[in-house]
């Protein structure tokens, strides 16, 4: 009989155990209990999130593969598919930053090439505690080095992303990694096992005792004992993965493959059951045939190991020699460990003796699904209340000082320190370098390019999970449109606390609703993604953080736009309009240390029209630059347009706020408010009329606000000069805010 302690160690509840006994008609063996524990973990089963995720829009004429496979795929023309997905590696990255982040990158790359696609771009979305907090630098340095170490070595460019700093991530950083690959649409390969008698092969690194119960670890909160879980973090070997990548893509070209899947979370267990389940078949393997790194491993350990860089393949019977030859070329050994059966069971043997026999459906389709109770959190009403006049009575800052404070805030400041460590140019496709806007790679052999952006905003999520999630979708799609690309599809990474608490589950439910609504309105179906729950340390949850990756297509690669102003005399145009919304803003946080109010409103029809306009203007070659207004509002956006242009300045005049929003912080609100759906573009003087006409035709507000030129950044508000700074000085603050903190130790 299995006691409560054993169940607890396996992360299983007593009623779940009863279900297991029901499925088997007997008590489970130790190996079977282990298999159930990982497959029914939150990480693998999505048991808390599944009912919500089902409501997301996942279809569209461009969608070739929606959720349920290793990654999603969209049609990008010329018979090609863009295969992409985002995934979290939060828990391992906190326990062991370098390896946690590195293996996160390794895992998402495997998801992409498993689909038959050659990975061509990586991005990441990272969140940490305040830069000055103890431990943050160590975690940040380790995570960035781990991402660099893996991506650089395997030769996939890391072309951008975001890094944000908030106290809520101090004990639970977020490491969300995104990968995109290209495949011939007709050759996309799936993770299915079928054809009774077809051999099942294991390829890649040997299995060790590392990472056992990694999926279970990712399904629990942190506490002061978390460091003891370090053995549950795996160690990455990018060279092995490079061999696997090349060898697998070569095998896929032979037509000898039925299906393939990487061994990620829950290792051999998850890959065998999922492949069998998708193909309506069973898989029988013998663990004694699995290549092992250590001696004396039990079936339980072999089935649950999360050793990295391993793949499971189902090969057409009679084609074994062909497949083995390819792997040998790459000095990899393909071990035949079993075969496909027709009985729908996962059967695990050890030297011929059955040690586990479980119906696949019990591990996949029929795993527990919870409609967990939801309740609006108590903090919300208080957090949403914001009295600007009260803040103004405490202190006010001059506009120049406010802007400098924002530019020096690590969340806004240049991330060059990080992306300079990433090889962002390998594969010679990168046409927008990191930090200039969305990441953009051209597609060799065509005139096209793909733009991609990953975005989230934890503060918005905290203050209104639904609108925060909508704003994340809108921002990611807007960034893609600013590069000139039409947004086509999305992938989501949902980072939340403990779903067993109704307030967290409410946040989650709200966020998924918001994502669904925004994705529908903006025409970007969700093609896959990942949910990371239990992001809590000592009972305190992170901000509910929805990170959205959007992928878009540029018909003409040479039409790509960056944020940078290009030439003196160019006219600066504001597309969209601001109402001075300071709720949840970077300004309130940087200047007042306050995270309060309502996040900015979002009119999805207006947002869609603006994105359509941007794609149209870029496609007609009418713009010189485009940059979205986000953290720090219009003032920060214009400053960023001046940076990395060799000191090009701007002279801008914006309106003061209208009557309903006037307060003592009116000027700050006009400059630093974060109203959504606003873009700063620049155009040659001769083309301005046409830009404005095309905007009017789509019903989008657009007006001239200034001119590029000089060496100063000047912004007048309502006729009064508010910001007047040397671009070089402002850029110095922005460029050195993060880098300056790391420079000392290497001097």
């Amino acid at each position: 009989m299995i006691d409560d302690q054993t169940l607890d160690r396996h992360g299983l509840k007593p009623d779940e155990y009863d279900r297991i006994v029901g499925f088997l008609g007997r008590e489970p063996s130790p190996a079977e209990l282990g298999i159930f524990s990982v497959m029914w973990s939150e990480h693998c089963s999505y048991k808390s999130s599944r009912v919500h995720l089902k409501t997301l829009p996942t279809e569209g004429p461009q969608v070739l593969q929606g959720p349920g496979e290793n990654a999603g795929a969209i049609d990008i023309g010329d018979g090609l598919a863009a295969v992409f997905k985002i995934e979290s590696h939060n828990h391992p990255s906190f326990i062991e930053p370098y390896q946690g982040a590195a293996t996160g990158v390794g895992g998402i790359i495997r998801d992409i090439f498993t689909m038959g696609a050659r990975p061509i771009a990586l991005m990441n979305s990272l969140r940490f505690g305040p830069l000055e907090a103890p431990g943050t630098r160590r975690v940040l340095q380790g995570v960035v080095a781990g991402i660099a170490g893996y991506g650089n070595s395997i030769g996939i460019p890391t072309i951008g992303g975001e890094i944000a700093f908030e106290p809520s991530y101090a004990g639970n950083p977020l490491v969300n990694v995104f990968c995109l690959g290209i495949a011939r649409a007709a050759d996309v390969i799936k993770g299915v096992a079928s054809g009774t008698g077809n051999p099942v092969y294991y390829v890649g690194a040997k299995t060790g005792r590392d990472g056992i119960h990694g999926a279970t670890m990712a399904s629990a909160e942190f506490d002061d004992k978390s460091a003891e879980k370090r053995p549950a973090v795996q160690v990455g070997d990018p060279f092995m993965e490079k061999l696997l990548l090349e060898a697998c893509l070569e095998v896929m070209r032979t037509d000898a493959l039925v299906g393939i899947q990487d061994m990620g979370a829950a290792g051999l267990t998850c890959s065998t059951t999922e492949m069998g389940s998708r193909g309506g078949a069973g898989i029988e393997i013998d663990v004694s045939l699995v290549p092992q790194r250590e001696s004396g491993m039990t079936p339980y350990e072999i089935m649950l190991s999360e050793s990295q860089e391993r793949m499971l393949l189902v090969v057409k019977k009679g084609r074994e020699a062909e497949v083995e030859r390819v792997f040998e070329k790459w000095d990899l050994h393909a071990a035949r460990i079993g075969h496909v059966t027709g009985d729908g069971l996962l059967r695990v043997k050890e030297q011929g003796r059955v040690v586990a026999e479980i119906p696949n459906r019990a591990l996949t389709d029929e795993c527990p699904v919870y409609h967990r109770p939801m309740e609006k959190p108590a903090y919300l009403d208080e957090a949403q209340a914001l009295d600007l006049d009260d803040l103004a009575r405490r202190t006010t800052v001059a506009a120049n000082d406010g802007l400098i404070a924002l530019l020096g805030s690590p969340t806004v400041a240049s991330k060059r320190w990080a992306y300079r460590q990433y090889d962002h140019m390998v594969q010679t496709n990168t046409i927008n370098l990191p930090g200039l806007g969305a990441g953009v790679v051209r597609i060799k052999g065509t005139n096209r390019a793909l733009a991609m952006s990953v975005d989230g905003n934890g503060r918005y999520g905290y203050l209104d999970p639904r609108r925060g999630a909508m704003l994340a979708v809108a921002e990611a799609a807007r960034n893609v449109a600013c590069a000139g690309a039409r947004p086509l599809g999305a992938t989501n990474c949902l980072n939340f606390g403990n779903p067993e608490r109704p307030s967290i589950m409410w946040q989650f439910g709200q966020a998924v609703e918001g994502i669904g609504e925004a994705c529908r309105a903006l025409g970007v179906p969700i093609t896959g993604g990942n949910v990371s729950l239990y992001n809590e340390t000592d009972g305190r949850a992170i901000y509910p953080t929805s990170v959205i990756g959007v992928v878009g297509l540029l018909e003409q690669a040479e039409h790509v736009l960056t944020r940078c102003f290009e030439d003196s005399g160019d006219v600066i145009i504001l597309i969209g309009e601001g109402t001075g919304e300071l709720g949840g803003s970077e300004f309130l946080k940087a200047v007042y240390g306050v995270v309060a109010g309502q996040p900015p409103a979002l009119d999805l029809a207006r947002e869609r029209a603006i994105q359509d306009l941007l794609v149209e203007l870029a496609g007609a070659g009418l713009l010189r630059s485009a940059h979205d207004c986000s953290d720090g509002g219009i003032a920060v956006a214009i400053a960023e347009c001046c940076f990395e242009t060799a000191g090009r300045g701007a002279d801008v005049a914006i309106d003061a706020l209208g009557a309903p929003t006037v307060s003592s912080l009116s000027e700050a609100a006009a400059l630093f408010g974060e109203s959504a759906s606003r873009v700063i573009v620049s155009a040659r003087p001769a083309l301005v009329t046409e830009v404005l006409q095309r905007a009017a035709a789509l019903g989008v507000p657009a007006r001239i606000i200034g001119e590029v030129g000089g060496a100063r950044l000047r912004i007048a508000v309502g006729g009064r000069m508010a910001v007047d700074l040397s671009v070089a000085d402002a850029e110095q603050v922005w460029a050195s805010a993060i880098e300056g903190r790391f420079a000392k130790q290497v001097a």
């Binding site: 650089n152 070329k329 460590q421 090889d423 390998v426 010679t428 060799k444």
Partner: protein, 231 residues
Amino acid sequence: MTFAVIVFPGSNCDQDAHHATTAVLGQMAEFVWHKEVDLHGADAVIVPGGFAHGDYLRTGAMARFSPIMGAVKTFADRGGPVIGICNGFQVLLEAGLLPGAMLRNRGLTYRCEYIQVRVEQTDTPFTAGAHVGQVLRLPIGHGEGNYYAPPDELERLEARRQVVLRYCAPNGAIDDDANPNGSVHAIAGLCNEQRNVVGMMPHPERACERLLGSVDGLVILESVVKALTSA
């Protein structure tokens, strides 16, 4: 003409070198797997960037044992043009085709960015089309590009005019701020005594198309095409 692009299992700029020489320059190029023992009659050899054998030990340290390196050495001894780019440079150092060694960057981190180099010598097959003092804006991407040679070796290198490229400021001045990795004498590229083997840390193949942001790498690859096709 035909380039041989050597492919080690961890090479990752092999496709880029192939693309630059074929799609951009209109020449022929063939991948040569590291386990092979001949160069298929190629006219010039590119040892591309990457992490040849994972390079967990020391960059390029194991690549010199790959079977193909014997053929590369013979080809070089006979005067054939060979260029090692980034990891390829490291491999040529380890294989003894070029003198000196690479240390970790002085900043201890990998660095990927545009830098400038100044062309110092034009009597090599890979710089013949450039002029002395020409400043090239090229990308780098490496963690171990801090070139080192002992003082007497350095003296010999300089005396024999083997330093082909030096890191420099945009105006061509050699100053320490413009040196991204701490290389002695700001060395970014060098050649052997016979001047037919060149190693360089920056990536010319990443700077051959305007769309990518720079075409300053073309002169390196075009030089060898001109040298061989006009001969």
